[in-house]
Point group: C2
Chain length 118, copies 2
DNA sequence: GGGGTAGTACTACGTCCTGTAGAGAGGTGG
DNA sequence: CCACCTCTCTACAGGACGTAGTACTACCCC
C-alpha cells in the first residue's frame, strides 16, 4: 500500500466521516477552507479510486465516491505494514506495547483477551 | 517522520544489521547486488543523516554512520504515527489486535501485562 | 615528492508522486 | 438554443529519491 498525500488524506477524512457516498461537488463543498477548483477535487478523487482507496458508482452523470475500507482498517493495515518492515517483530511489538499510553494499553489488552476467549 | 525510499531502506537495513558504525565504502561493499557508484551510497547516507535517521562521526577523513534509533524504535514509531491518523484510536487498536497473528498476539499480551505489573 | 587512491562536498538530472487546474466534450434544464 | 454541470484528458510545478559526475583535499607507496 502507499501513503496518502496531504490533500488526499483530507479528502479521505471527509469521506470517512460521512457515511454516504459523495459526489465530487459535495466533497468540494466540504473542503471550503481550501479554495480548490472543482477539477482538483475530481482529479484527486479519481486518483484515490484508481489507487483502490475509493470505490465509485454512477449517480446520473456524476460519480459517487465512498471509501473502499474503513479508516480503522486502513490504520490497522498501515500498522501491520510497519511491523512487516522489521526483522524482529517481537522486539518491535514489545516496544510498541510499551509506547502506547495506559488507556490504550487497556484497549489492546481487552481486544487481545477477548480474542483468546473465542 | 517521513518514510524511506527503496535504497534508503536497504541502507538502513544494513546499518541496523551491523551494530558498528560503518563508512560509506563499507556500506557500499555490503550492497554488492546493486552495482552502485560510491558517490551514490555517500549521497544517500548523507541524506539519511540530514533527515535524522543516521548520526555520523569522523574517522580520519571518513565518516562513520550509525542509526540514530533502532529499527524497532523506528517501526514502533511508524505504528504510533499510523495510529495517530485515526479519529477513533480504540477502534483501530482493536482492529489491529485482531489482525496480528496468534503468536504475535501473545507477545503483545506479554508485553502489556508486564507493563501493568510494573 | 609525485601520482594513484580514498574520501568529501557540491551539483545535476530523470522519474515519480502530488497538488493544482485548464480545456474540451457531452448531457440537461429552462 | 444557451448556460451549466460533470466527466475525462492533459498539463505543469515542486519535492523526494535513485543515481552519479566533478572537483578538491589528504594520504600512502615507491
Amino acid at each position: 500500500m502507499k501513503g496518502l498525500g496531504e490533500l488526499e488524506r483530507s479528502i479521505m477524512d471527509i469521506l470517512w466521516a460521512e457515511n454516504t457516498p459523495l459526489t465530487a461537488r459535495e466533497v468540494g463543498r466540504l473542503i471550503e477552507d481550501r479554495d480548490l477548483a472543482p477539477t482538483t477535487v475530481m482529479t484527486v478523487l479519481d486518483r484515490l479510486a484508481r489507487k483502490g482507496f475509493l470505490t465509485r458508482t454512477r449517480d446520473g452523470r456524476a460519480w459517487r465516491y465512498q471509501p473502499a475500507a474503513s479508516r480503522d482498517a486502513y490504520v490497522a493495515e498501515l500498522m501491520l505494514e510497519a511491523l512487516d518492515m522489521t526483522g524482529d517483530r517481537d522486539a518491535a511489538l514489545t516496544r510498541f506495547a510499551r509506547a502506547v499510553s495506559g488507556s490504550e494499553a487497556e484497549i489492546l489488552l481487552k481486544a487481545l483477551t477477548e480474542l483468546e476467549e473465542e
